[in-house]
Point group: C2
Chain length 173, copies 2
């Protein structure tokens, strides 16, 4: 009949919303099931609003969001439930962005949202810093252990046959 899209649908910019769930899954090295599951548990905030039953279509931005979710899950090792609360920072940010487009928003309210987001960001930072520190410690310890092992091997090699330079057989490690 008549194309009544609000004029901003297939605009010049490639804001697509043209990726199907299979494409997204491949791009993220995961499966459609996982993406649907994340949506199901509320990690994707109603990402692809669509008439139920139709295929989900994703924008590049939404893909990035999912990538971020998986990254945080991997690096922080938290449950999806915890992740959801951690990610409420992003939701706050999304709300801020949304409200920024309307100019009639109370600056007080805007500030509130920002403060909240900041709080969540700092919780994330805390977590990340803690883990980073622990990992760094572990890395140092492993380096030490490796050093000792190498020394021992060199010691054996030296004692192997006399005491002249261990000419051949430089084990490349």
């Amino acid at each position: 009949m008549s194309p009544s899209e609000p004029s901003s649908r297939d605009a010049s910019a490639a804001a697509s919303r043209s990726l199907r769930i299979g494409d997204v899954a491949r791009a993220l090295a995961t499966t459609p099931r996982t993406i649907r599951y994340y949506e199901e548990v509320g990690l994707l905030g109603e990402a692809p609003a669509r008439p139920s039953g139709r295929h989900r279509l994703y924008t590049e931005a939404e893909v990035e969001r999912i990538r971020e979710v998986m990254r945080l899950k991997e690096l922080l090792g938290v449950s999806l439930e915890e992740l959801k609360t951690l990610l409420s920072a992003e939701e706050a940010r999304a709300e801020v962005r949304a409200q920024l487009r309307r100019e009639d928003v109370d600056p007080e309210r805007r500030r509130e949202l920002l403060i909240q987001a900041l709080g969540h960001i700092e919780r994330q930072l805390e977590l990340v810093r803690h883990r980073a520190a622990e990992l760094s410690k572990l890395e140092h310890e492993l380096n030490e252990t490796r050093k000792r092992a190498r020394r021992k091997i060199r010691g054996l090699d030296a004692a192997r046959e006399g005491s002249f330079p261990p000419s051949e057989e430089m084990t490349p490690l």
Copy 2:
């Protein structure tokens, strides 16, 4: 028939073996079930050899081993199965130590074991380094995000009772 303990049981040194599973669990902030499970899947290498049916008794060293297991699990986020193969380095080291006590061991064999252990250590290091790098990256990104959020808040605070609105939309939060 007769009490034939090999004379090295309650030696002078406090090599204890006097911690019960409940004590260990409390010390590691976990449960007896978890410790038994780790033993069941072979993560603790027959730690407390004992006449079946009797209570498990742990030495301080064994507690440290379990602590290390939990630490690696936590920091590397790997399955217990993967962890088992990663930890074979420690087993190799244990074997080396064991063979070192007997002096009649083939230096070739000893070197082999050390080389193996070294390999496992380097696999661990690889993993740890990778994760550490990723986490560090994430930390930097979060710091940036936090900076931006703070700037925005300060901007709002300035405009709150200041003269003019600050140049809007500097950086997308």
